[in-house]
């Protein structure tokens, strides 16, 4: 089963600021806890794991991640991830495009993702996956917006995007495919920094 999500979240700061923050490894990491990079093959290819946890259910996916593109001009990136769960009975693949766009209010973070599940997870997870994907994206954007706001104050940010999310995303929030991709983004940027520092 596929979960297609396109969500945009108002960001209380100009696009440049948000884009810059999007490149702030620690900040991104803080917003999206969880995923782990186990191996860096080259600057575009990684191996990682991510745990999806919903209530009593937990699934751990091992997978390959490929950075398909990062475009500073359009402030957008495109990532691809494929993985199989530890029991070998489910598969997941994720395709994400994230970009920062300018708006009158400031900017918005646009996340466009397709998470597709195979096997057991698809058969039994349909009631779960949509909600999880949605919740995690909301949670990420919420946390991210709050950080952006904190940094880019005084401009008071609309709590709108956060409101639902903070209600629906429990502490130690579960991750879904998106989490993995954000984590990859984090690691990929770290790689960039590494180079520029050298």
């Amino acid at each position: 089963m596929k979960v297609q999500l396109e969500r945009s979240f108002p960001m209380p700061a100009p696009p440049e600021v948000v884009w810059k923050m999007l490149q702030d490894v620690e900040l991104v990491a803080g917003c999206m806890p969880g995923a782990r990079i186990t191996e860096r093959i080259d600057e575009r290819h990684f191996k990682g794991t991510v745990s999806v946890r919903v209530g009593p259910a937990t699934m751990t996916f091992r997978g390959d991640i490929e950075v398909q593109g990062l475009d500073a001009a359009t402030k957008s990136l495109h990532l691809l991830g494929k993985g199989t769960d530890s029991t070998g009975t489910s598969g997941a693949s994720m395709d994400l495009t994230a970009s920062v766009q300018g708006t009158d209010a400031g900017s918005q973070l646009v996340g466009k993702s397709e998470v597709s599940m195979s096997g057991k997870a698809a058969a039994f997870g349909s009631r779960v996956m949509n909600t999880v994907a949605d919740q995690v994206l909301k949670q990420f954007a919420d946390n991210f917006a709050l950080k952006v706001q904190a940094l880019a104050s005084p401009a008071p940010a609309s709590a709108a995007p956060g409101e639902v999310a903070s209600k629906t995303a429990p502490a130690g929030a579960p991750l879904n495919g998106l989490a993995l991709l954000w984590a990859i983004l984090k690691d990929w940027l770290r790689a960039l920094f590494g180079k520029s520092a050298a």
Binding site: G55, P56, A57, T58, T87, S126, T131, Q135
Partner: protein, 287 residues
């Protein structure tokens, strides 16, 4: 369909259960009726390191009236609810709801507390609890707190119950005499989750609604209390127009996900339809 290995604990008392829970923390899962958790474990979606079986703890059972409230032990089974004369007289909504849950064998094992604590929006009791203004008694090693059903359900499989807490008791204020009730549930077959369901309490006076409660099952990540509808009905005559408006309000708060039961449109429409039926039946039962 074999669970992963785990350790099993069957505490004889609540304090024992709490200390076990304290000891194993996130590693532990509470086992009530087991008809949600064990299938998940057999599918290896869930694999807790420790199972703490609440089945041997007598103090978690029983249905009694305490003042203006009905107190139900969390480990009281569905069939015990179905067969309770006290509930039939005081809280018939709960009996009607329990009768529509799963199948006979599951109702012998399934418990009110387990159904609530699991935090599955497909379960029936969460919406029933919202409609009944119930509150939940949560006990942990550090003490006891009482949390209202309203606000307890936070998200899919997520509630305000902490990992170190046990749901010990459900407290339901007895609806005042003459209150009409109905749980209207649409399901594909015996043993299935609701495609959509509506729980309703209704009291009228002089042809006008004096008190109304409405909550929905399985049409969002959590059970949904339809506040707008409850407020809208206040003081109104329950005519076709009002019923239609309440259905509209109910549908407007639905965020179902598509599955084999139907798409978003159908589930939303059914939430509206079940709402109308629950209202009409509740009204017909109100005196």
């Amino acid at each position: 369909m074999i669970p992963r290995p785990f350790e099993y604990h069957a505490p004889a008392s609540l304090p024992d259960a709490l200390s076990l829970l304290h000891r194993y923390g996130e590693e532990a899962k509470l086992l009530a009726g087991g008809h949600s958790l064990l299938p998940m474990m057999k599918l290896r979606f869930a694999s807790p390191g420790h199972l703490i079986d609440l089945g041997k703890i007598g103090e978690l059972k029983g249905i009694r009236q305490v003042g203006g409230e009905i107190h139900i032990g969390a480990m009281t089974t569905e069939n015990e609810l179905v067969w309770s004369k006290l509930l039939a007289e005081k809280v018939p909504l709960l009996v009607e709801g329990a009768r529509l849950i799963s199948d006979p064998q599951v109702r012998y094992k399934g418990t009110l507390g387990g159904d609530i604590a699991h935090g599955d929006p497909g379960n029936d009791h969460p919406a029933l609890m919202l409609a009944l203004d119930a509150s939940f008694v949560l006990r942990s090693a550090s003490g006891e707190r009482v949390v209202p059903a309203d606000g307890f359900f936070q998200g899919l499989y997520s509630t305000r119950m902490e990992a170190n807490e046990v749901l010990t008791r459900i407290q339901i204020p007895v609806p005042s005499a003459g209150t009409g009730w109905c749980y209207a549930k649409l399901k594909r077959k015996t043993g299935d989750f609701a495609t959509a369901a509506a729980a309703c309490l209704l009291r009228t006076k002089g042809g006008r609604v004096e008190f109304a409660r409405l909550a929905l099952t399985n049409v969002a990540a959590t059970p949904v209390k339809v506040r707008a509808a409850e407020q809208y009905l206040q003081g109104r005559p329950l005519d076709d127009g009002a019923i239609a408006e309440v259905a509209r309000l109910a549908m407007s708060v639905c965020e179902p996900t598509e599955d084999q039961r139907g798409d978003v449109t159908y589930k939303t429409a059914m939430a509206g339809e079940m709402t109308q039926r629950a209202l009409r039946t509740a009204a017909s039962r109100a005196q």
